[in-house]
Symmetry: C2
Subunit: 309 residues, 2 copies
């Protein structure tokens, strides 16, 4: 993973670690916020996208990369490909918000629309790969992507000594899995927890059951965390994440409010889930040094207006 940091460093920002006296007082712990909301294109996904693309051969790169995503990974893949001068083919459901399509196009990505079903998405992706020769890169269930996402936690461990905990949100598990690997290899005494919305609690359920329980019908404002774990992220989370903390929707919104009012930063709802988990588990974390990964900052101001109006 040290190699990944070197590999991607000219394609990403080394994001700052912020602290906030007021939030420390509220949490009763010493918090260190890894601000991936300040990352290029606004989220940690740039790390995994860059790391995966950079491990392709020259010939593979020339034919480009393909993925399916309607969220931050679509933009990350498009931007990373643009920076490397190669094509990016992004399969998106036809009902994706226009603002998200525009963002992908703005980074030079070519959008291929499909019906909003899993079957149509996979069939369309397969067609694109066959037609273009592009390499498919999964948004999270990919070792190089997981490794890239883990560089956020590794930088945090490099910048802050003696963390007792690192808490990251969990959706597909790329960020949380990468975080867990970073701690496991570079700071084994640092415990890693996931923060997950109660309304999309497949990681929590999977930990309880000891096997992947797929997410069905997720209900949460944290739109980055609605996906299920994958077969590459699950074993890492099973083995190296101590626990998954569930948080309610109003707790996510309260954390968003604290981040905006007290730290003066804009974070997307998924990004506020890790802080919500910290506050939920104040008793267990009292007096500890806790790394909190703020995963991204791409939120429509209309959504914020709806929450705080």
């Amino acid at each position: 993973m040290l190699a990944a940091i070197e590999r991607i460093k000219s394609y990403i920002h080394r994001t700052p670690v912020l602290t906030c006296h007021t939030l420390d007082q509220i949490a009763g712990a010493k918090l260190f916020f890894k601000c991936e909301n300040f990352q290029k294109m606004g989220a940690f996904k740039m790390r995994g996208a860059a790391n995966a693309i950079l491990q392709l051969t020259e010939g593979e790169r020339e034919r480009g990369v393909a993925t399916h995503s309607s969220g931050n990974f679509a933009q990350a893949m498009a931007l990373a490909a643009q920076m490397l001068g190669i094509p990016a083919f992004i399969v998106m459901p036809s009902n994706s918000p226009e603002v998200k399509k525009a963002a992908v196009r703005g980074y030079g990505g070519e959008i291929i629309e499909c019906e909003p079903t899993l079957a149509a998405r996979e069939a369309t992706l397969q067609q694109v790969v066959e037609r273009t020769g592009a390499t498919f890169i999964h948004p999270f269930n990919d070792d190089h992507v997981i490794q890239g996402q883990g560089t956020a936690a590794l930088e945090l461990l490099q910048d802050v000594q003696d963390l007792d905990f690192i808490i990251a949100p969990v959706g597909g598990g790329g960020l949380l899995g990468g975080t867990a690997l970073a701690a496991h290899h570079f700071s084994p005494k640092t415990k890693v927890w996931g923060g997950e919305p109660l309304g999309a609690n497949d990681a929590w359920q999977s930990k309880q059951a000891g096997k992947i329980i797929p997410q069905t019908n997720p209900q949460t404002i944290a739109d980055g965390l609605r996906t299920s774990l994958g077969d590459k992220t699950w074993p890492i989370i099973r083995d190296h994440v101590e626990r998954v903390v569930l948080v309610e929707e109003d707790e996510i919104v309260a954390s968003l409010r604290l981040l905006m009012e007290r730290m003066k930063i804009v974070v997307e709802p998924s990004g506020a889930v890790a802080l919500a988990a910290v506050l939920k588990e104040k008793a267990a974390l009292a007096g500890k040094r806790v790394g909190v990964i703020l995963s991204g900052g791409n939120v429509d101001l209309k959504v914020l207006a709806g929450l705080f109006g």
Copy 2:
């Protein structure tokens, strides 16, 4: 002013200077944002309050400090006094929002309410000073306060070489005056401009007339910029500020939006005025290195919701 930096450094944050590739592209210039929205209590006012209090004698300090303000300076004075363990008496109009009174009380300030008129404010302040022996410190028309506010620009000049311009918002003129003194003494080739709302354009009018034109009936969302210049801030602005750029309300809101969407930071409307001025004067600033002072981040989320809903 170097002495002021030393004097106040344990009472304030040395705030970061952020850059943003996207905003550079939009502006056509290289922008360096001095983030006083990350300052203690959320605005540059901490600098002036701390610098003024720290120049009192021990005997004066014991009797405390007094000011009149319904905004950030009230909170700054209360917090700086609290950090030094001395009383702060804050005269506030009885119609001040409860949230602002609560903030002052939260920092240990004692609020003395008065009728919302200039005469009542001055009479009440006089009574408080006579009763308590506290030293009156004006929110901006005070040499030590001006010098303290100027430390933000001085830090910026220390951190970023060869700035062609620094742009700061102007209300009473403490921040802009201090900024102009910092550039005048430490980087004379750096030009200083003010940004001012069209609906509260007393500094612009004063520059045109060559004498102080008081603000009457200000109309702007930038609530920190509704005050008139004072007789200590005006001569500095007259002599050392090259020009005042007027911006319209929708330009202030557009800059707020850019700061939130692109830089992922929360800034109060007054703080966005300097960026609005940069964008208004793109042609004149093309290719230049421009310092932009983001003066504070204390904004009610309901206000933001109203703007972006």
